[in-house]
């Protein structure tokens, strides 16, 4: 699992790769921490290489979305793989997030 955060222009691009499970979620959580307090941030989560997500990963997606809304920013998910997307559909996340 890997998380890379790139801030270019006004958009913060977070590239998530590999398996986001109960063991690997700590690294993702650490990478997200600075983003939870950013004011009016436009954040893109690029999930092209994210192959798996469990409830511990889903929890962090919710934490991030709540923080972004509270800080009046935007959050967009891009390039999600179909199997991961099916988990978002199953849990109602697809209607909460902007997924491109």
């Amino acid at each position: 699992m890997g998380t890379t955060v790139n801030a270019q222009d006004s958009v913060i691009r977070v590239i998530v790769s590999g398996r986001l499970d109960t063991n690997t979620v700590k690294e993702f959580e650490a990478a997200l921490q600075p983003l939870l307090v950013k004011d009016k941030a436009d954040i893109v989560l690029d999930c092209a290489d994210m192959t798996y997500i469990s409830s511990s990963g889903l929890r962090l997606f919710i934490v991030l979305l709540k923080a972004v809304k509270a800080n009046k920013g935007t959050l967009t998910i891009e390039n999600m793989q179909s199997d991961v997307r099916s988990i978002f559909d199953m849990t109602g996340f697809s209607s909460l997030f902007t997924i491109l």
């Binding site: 398996r19 499970d21 109960t22 063991n23 192959t51 798996y52 469990s54 409830s55 511990s56 889903l58 929890r59 919710i62 934490v63 979305l65 709540k66 809304k69 179909s82 199997d83 099916s86 988990i87 199953m90 849990t91 109602g92 909460l96």
Partner: protein, 138 residues
């Protein structure tokens, strides 16, 4: 097909669960999507046991995972000797709530129920036995 895996109640053991499911997926020629979903249901079940069944324990306890494929049904049985916990009676997560009203957690058992066709629990002789069944349609 019958298979068995014994792990300790340690989150580092989760990789073994993933490998166990992948091996079964290869043997039964299951789709990658199905293998991922089954892996997810088992991860959630195992993590529940590791996180909550042994709150006051110093040493390592075992969690046993049995898999059997019979009559087009894949059955996983998860057993542990931790605190009694019946996930089948846990309240169902409301996945229609808005982001403002959504709790951040509570999706683990929901995912197990969604992915598996049947989830049942027994407490027998100080042991939790969780059975997860999935019909395999070719």
């Amino acid at each position: 097909m019958k298979k068995q895996l014994r792990i300790h109640n340690d989150l580092d053991e989760l990789n073994k669960v993933a490998e166990f499911v992948e091996t079964i997926g290869d043997e039964l020629n299951l789709s990658l999507s199905l293998v991922m979903n089954i892996n997810l249901a088992l991860e959630e079940a195992v993590v529940n046991v590791i996180s909550y069944a042994y709150p006051n324990q110093d040493g390592k306890s075992n969690i046993d995972l049995y898999a059997e494929f019979c009559d087009s049904t894949l059955v996983f049985t998860l057993t542990d000797k931790g605190l009694a916990f019946d996930p089948t009676t846990a309240p169902t997560a409301d996945v229609t709530l808005s982001i403002e009203d959504r709790p951040v957690g509570g999706l683990g058992i929901f995912l197990i129920r969604q992915i598996m066709d049947e989830v049942s629990y027994k407490r027998i002789k100080e042991e939790n036995q969780l059975s997860l069944k999935k019909k395999i349609i070719n």
